[in-house]
């Protein structure tokens, strides 16, 4: 069942070399947990962005935690390219497994359904097929021939990690319409979640919140992290800290600037001090 941990102990459930799935920038990004991973000096992570990512991936890459990035895109959005990501790909410091958004969704759905692959239309003629030898073109066995289609192998992360507005005392996590996180959790071996707060009661007991709830069955461990998505926003709760994000984009443009950013905002756990272990059930 769901364990209640401190932020640091939650981060400690991720092991070096793990296949770690992270949400897109618009969706419940676990920034406090990402900083905790950096502080723990993680190495050789295989990041899977579902399907794209921003500062969370850039921070982990810049800090040297990542060996491989599997992604449809890493970018800072309006603030431009993700500088540590781009630099690391250019220098070969990280291996890049380029993908495309629906392929990442479909490959996670394959793992969710316990099937070894999922077909996907499109893709044929894209150089992605050239750089993804694990994707295979077959002739659609259900057609009369001459209908090529791509099969994507199932993608089963070791760990799905995200931040949610709240959980209940049983470990059920409210995700609203962010169902890419539901699929991530179904597909992953372990799911680690930080939340703004733990509320009393049972989210599954009432049909309205239940519709947006990930059952505790899938949640390996929970930690409370107030403002846990900061400097990103949490839709309907707090806005992105745009000034801070712009600072990040500016500083991370150089290795030195990135180191200065980390020294100021990541290395010292005090920046996530509002984070306290929640009471165990």
């Amino acid at each position: 069942m769901t364990e209640a941990l401190s932020l640091d102990r939650l981060a400690g459930r991720v092991t070096d070399g793990a296949v770690l799935a992270l949400p897109p920038d618009y969706s419940f990004v676990p920034m406090a947990a990402v900083r905790a991973l950096v502080r723990r000096g993680m190495r050789d992570l295989h990041l899977v962005t579902v399907p794209q990512a921003g500062i969370a991936a850039d921070l982990l890459i810049g800090a040297g935690c990542v060996a491989t990035v599997e992604t449809a895109a890493v970018s800072l959005g309006e603030l431009g390219i993700a500088p540590r990501f781009s630099a690391a790909v250019e220098s070969g410091a990280v291996a890049i497994r380029d993908s495309t958004c629906p392929a990442i969704h479909a490959a996670l759905q394959a793992a969710e359904k316990g099937v070894p692959f999922m077909p996907l239309r499109g893709l044929i003629g894209s150089d992605l097929l050239r750089v993804r030898p694990d994707w295979q073109v077959i002739d659609n066995p259900l057609a009369d021939g001459g209908d090529p289609i791509v099969l994507l192998p199932a993608l089963r992360p070791d760990v799905a990690l995200f931040h949610a507005p709240f959980a209940d005392e049983h470990g059920n996590v409210w995700l609203g319409a962010r169902r890419e996180l539901v699929t991530m959790a179904h597909a992953a071996k372990e799911t680690l979640v930080t939340v703004e707060e733990v509320r009393p009661g049972d989210l599954l007991a009432d049909e309205t919140p239940a519709a947006g709830t990930l059952p505790a069955l899938y949640v390996s461990a929970l930690a409370e992290a107030k403002q846990g998505a900061w400097p990103l926003g949490l839709a309907g709760r707090y806005e992105p800290d745009r000034a801070h994000l712009a600072d990040y984009a500016r500083l991370a443009a150089s290795e030195e600037g990135f180191a200065a950013y980390c020294a100021a905002h990541v290395t010292d756990a005090a920046s996530d001090e509002t984070t306290a272990p929640i009471a165990a059930e």
């Binding site: 897109p24 618009y26 969706s27 579902v50 399907p51 794209q52 992604t71 449809a72 895109a73 890493v74 970018s75 959005g77 309006e78 390219i81 993700a82 990501f85 781009s86 790909v89 250019e90 220098s91 070969g92 291996a95 890049i96 380029d98 993908s99 495309t100 958004c101 629906p102 392929a103 969704h105 479909a106 759905q109 996907l120 239309r121 499109g122 893709l123 044929i124 003629g125 894209s126 150089d127 992605l128 750089v131 001459g146 209908d147 090529p148 289609i149 319409a177 962010r178 169902r179 890419e180 996180l181 539901v182 699929t183 839709a235």
Partner: protein
């Protein structure tokens, strides 16, 4: 870019969405979003518009995959793509320049292009920067190809390419762009020099018409309101203090 040019682009794109049922717009795409809203205003509520990553302006409740599933179901009639590079065959590259994987200059990645370009009937390519650097003879990496051989499932593909200088239409049968109009103040010679690929062209291409007073009123009114809500920084620059967040 000047507010006049921005309004021109919004207007010309909106014209390409007329009569469609459903248009989706990717994240961080204020001009395509404004064009889709403008088309909806003119069409009395049609096309239906989904703007990704925009909170209240999104109508998706099945997570990040819903856009792609909708497109695969044939429920999206038009979408927008850009490109680090776009070539004369409408191949697009969103990954970067130079060899893969260690690009000379790495950009974010292919996003959903390698799928949506195949299944959305009317994909509109939009890239303001019109230079030999962006419009190239051959892209360094094909994120998504402009055309496909017979037999490949492809109900969709490129419809047009709109830049800061002109409008190209894509001729799928010939696999080539054709210059459709030059924006006011731009010449054919200038466009030829700025374009890295060969394209078809009439001897005397028309000028992209400037937005009507009625269109400008819509852009300053309801469309500006939507922009201010979803893209406050863009709206402030484009429309000035009257719409600043």
């Amino acid at each position: 870019m000047s507010p006049e040019k921005t309004a021109l682009l919004i207007d010309v794109i909106a014209g390409m969405l007329e009569g469609l049922g459903r248009v989706a717009v990717g994240a961080s795409s204020p001009i395509p979003a404004a064009a889709a809203w403008l088309a909806r205003e003119r069409g009395g509520g049609r096309p239906q518009v989904s703007v990704l990553g925009s909170g209240a302006h999104s109508d998706m409740t099945d997570g990040g995959r819903e856009l792609f599933d909708r497109a695969g179901q044939g429920r999206i009639d038009a979408f927008f793509l850009g490109g680090v590079q776009i070539d004369g065959g409408a191949n697009i590259n969103l990954i970067g320049t130079g060899p893969h994987p260690s690009a000379d200059k790495r950009f974010p990645g292919s996003y959903g292009s390698a799928y949506l370009y195949f299944v959305v009937p009317r994909v509109i390519l939009f890239r303001v920067e019109h230079s030999p650097r962006t419009l190239v003879e051959k892209v360094d990496f094909v994120s998504a190809p402009g055309t496909s051989p017979a037999g490949v499932y492809r109900p969709g593909g490129p419809h047009a390419l709109i830049t800061g200088r002109c409008v190209f239409r894509f001729d799928a049968a010939r696999g080539r762009f054709r210059l459709a109009s030059l924006h006011p103040g731009h010449s054919l010679d200038e466009v030829r020099t700025a374009t890295g690929f060969d394209f078809d062209c009439a001897d005397d291409p028309p000028v992209t018409p400037a937005p009507s007073a009625e269109t400008m009123a819509l852009i300053r009114g309801p469309i500006g309101g939507n922009l201010a809500e979803v893209y406050p920084r863009f709206a402030a620059k484009f429309l000035g203090g009257e719409r600043a967040a």
